[in-house]
């Protein structure tokens, strides 16, 4: 009687049985980290569902737009330059921007819930009954917005852009037009490099203090974590304005949110390959803004680890 049921248990967790082969079981610390990150992916499926949904919408919109544009172009033998620009570049930039915005929003809401949800549903008592340190747990939660989300977004965006390129090629060919212009005008490869650099540098490293601050608040607040994350910052800015009539704190926050100097390059040049010249990884890596941000992130994380040790269910 128990044999068939056993078989069910042994074989059914498809995702897990496949991945168990790559589990780094040799080192317990790495194994704990690996499984803690996987646990986050099980719990917060918005990490990949939200970017996928947005990618789907982009593709749908692009498909409709492409067909619509072709109708308008019927009769004229060549694509006029304005349309060419619109047709060739804007959708790809726009897709990348939309995906980044999605990523940022997902990361913010993920962080606000990461150390709050487990206390709210009392599951922290279960997690703490296992030999996983608070440090591992908090780091695994910080890895999601800083490393996992940028990489997931990069993969989904690149695939989306390739599908867009294929769709527009098919449509052009279908109308008997040459796709040479399309393929000559840009290549997706530099665009992808730009995207990856932007996601890792800005969304991962530059935004790290933002995410770590949100994690800290989510471990601290008993409720309304979003308000606790935002209102104190506003309060500091307001007090500074009233007391000293300066806006250093607000300027600093805006600078951080806008992505600093590297972010400005993207705003100016978009995602097209022209702006590849404008990025300067070496400059970014020695910029004090990056390192001050990372140092602040470490402080926030250390505080979050300590908090998790003290805090029980809400």
């Amino acid at each position: 009687m128990s044999t068939p049921s056993n078989a069910v248990y042994a074989s059914s967790p498809g995702s897990s049985s496949g991945s168990r082969g790559i589990t780094p079981a040799t080192n317990p610390a790495i194994a704990s980290m690996y499984w803690s990150v996987r646990r986050e992916l099980w719990e917060s499926r918005s990490i990949y569902i939200a970017p996928l949904a947005v990618a789907g919408l982009i593709l749908l919109g692009f498909l409709i737009g492409t067909l619509h544009l072709r109708h308008a172009e019927r009769g004229s033998s060549a694509i006029n330059p304005v349309h060419q620009r619109v047709f060739l570049e804007q959708p790809y930039d726009f897709a990348a921007l939309l995906m980044m915005l999605t990523t940022f929003l997902v990361a913010v809401f993920y962080c606000l819930d990461a150390l709050h949800g487990e206390r709210r549903d009392r599951s922290i008592l279960f997690w703490k009954s296992l030999p996983v340190s608070d440090l591992t747990t908090v780091l695994s939660k910080a890895i999601i917005p800083i490393v996992v989300l940028p990489l997931v977004t990069f993969a989904i965006t690149v695939v989306t852009q390739w599908i867009m390129l294929l769709v527009s090629s098919v449509v052009l060919v279908g109308y008997g037009l040459s796709i040479a212009a399309l393929w000559n005008h840009f290549s997706l490869f530099p665009m992808s490099v730009m995207l990856l650099y932007h996601l890792v540098a800005i969304h991962g490293l530059w935004y790290a203090p933002i995410y770590c601050w949100l994690l800290l608040v989510s471990g601290w607040a008993r409720r309304a974590a979003f308000l606790w994350a935002v209102l104190p910052l506003l309060a500091i800015a307001v007090v500074e304005k009233i007391a000293f009539n300066t806006t250093h704190f607000g300027t600093m926050l805006a600078y951080r949110l806008s992505g600093g100097r590297e972010g400005a390059a993207f705003t100016a040049g978009g995602m097209s390959m022209d702006s590849l010249d404008q990025i300067n990884p070496g400059h970014f890596l020695i910029s004090p803004g990056l390192w001050i941000g990372l140092a602040i992130s470490a402080v926030f994380l250390a505080a979050a680890v300590r908090l998790r040790r003290y805090r029980g269910p809400i």
Binding site: Y9, S32, W42, P131
Partner: protein, 291 residues
């Protein structure tokens, strides 16, 4: 080997004193029942033992300081809090994967063979399971871990009687052996009476009574006495007296069994009755002290 050793354990939440100098020593192979009214400090004591809260005083669990070494300690200690601590979003197969991944002493085959005897399917999410099934799942996870100490905080709260009985049966038959130690708190005192080897009453952060079950059985006697013998029985100094169907039931602490047998039917009281008697006397003392 001493599994838990506490001396002068204290814990205050603000101005509320949850633990007021607890001394405790639990050896290997014991099953300690921690009994007390709501808010007595039972959960606080367990949380201190599990390294979930800081405390004052001395506490060693498996030779470690739980507050400093929680994650190390949890290799040897398992914990089931009341039924609702498994995350509701997790799938049964994911829970198995995760525990297998992070716990070096988890035997996945053991857990799956236990689950195979239940109606729980691997693809189910915890939120789809009944309360009883969630407890079964948690028990399956815990029993598959080769731990030295198992801590149970109201493990059967809100379960029906079948699940409760099954829970303790599984625990005794499939899990417990003389090298393991169990600490359990519960309000369903009758159901654990035959399970325990040691008993501890706790009230307002203090230990009111602590003894082994052998000691309990020799020390406490309950006599059902007909009205004509009540006066003689009262002279022996019962700690509690109650009336049922016109007969008096008197509870004695350290009384000669032969002497009592002459007055009525003598038996070992239930833990619940002793608890009521001891706590009732406590309350009386407290009121007396206040007035």
């Amino acid at each position: 080997m001493t599994v838990i050793e506490a001396r002068g354990l204290r814990k205050a939440f603000g101005s509320t004193i949850a633990l007021d100098g607890i001394d405790l020593r639990v050896g290997e192979g014991r099953i300690l029942g921690l009994i007390g009214p709501n808010g007595a400090g039972k959960s606080t004591l367990l949380h201190a033992i599990l390294g979930l809260i800081p405390y004052q005083g001395e506490l060693r669990v498996m030779g470690r300081d739980p507050w400093i070494d929680r994650d190390q300690l949890m290799r040897d200690v398992c914990f089931i809090a009341d039924v609702a601590v498994l995350p509701r979003w997790i799938r049964v197969s994911q829970a198995l994967d995760y525990v297998a991944g992070v716990h070096p002493r988890f035997d996945r085959a053991k857990a799956t063979s236990f689950l195979a005897k239940t109606a729980i399917r691997p693809a189910s999410k915890v939120r789809e399971l009944s309360k009883g099934m969630v407890t079964q799942l948690h028990l399956a996870l815990v029993m598959a871990i080769d731990a030295k100490l198992l801590v149970l905080d109201e493990p059967t709260l809100g379960l029906d009687i079948l699940f409760r009985k099954q829970f303790y049966d599984s625990l005794l038959n499939d899990y417990f052996d003389r090298s393991r130690t169990i600490v359990v708190t519960t309000h369903q005192v009758e159901e654990v009476q035959h399970v325990l080897t040691d008993l501890m009453f706790i009230d307002r952060g203090r230990m009111v009574l602590g003894c082994s079950m052998e000691e309990f059985e020799t020390r406490y006697l309950e006599a059902t006495v007909n009205p004509e013998h009540v006066a003689a029985a009262r002279a022996l100094g019962p700690i509690q007296e109650r009336q049922i169907f016109g007969r008096s039931i008197l509870l004695f602490d350290r009384c000669d069994r032969q002497q009592l047998a002459a007055l009525g039917d003598v038996r070992t009281p239930s833990i619940a009755d002793l608890f009521v008697a001891v706590m009732g006397n406590q309350a009386g003392h407290a009121q007396g002290g206040n007035s």
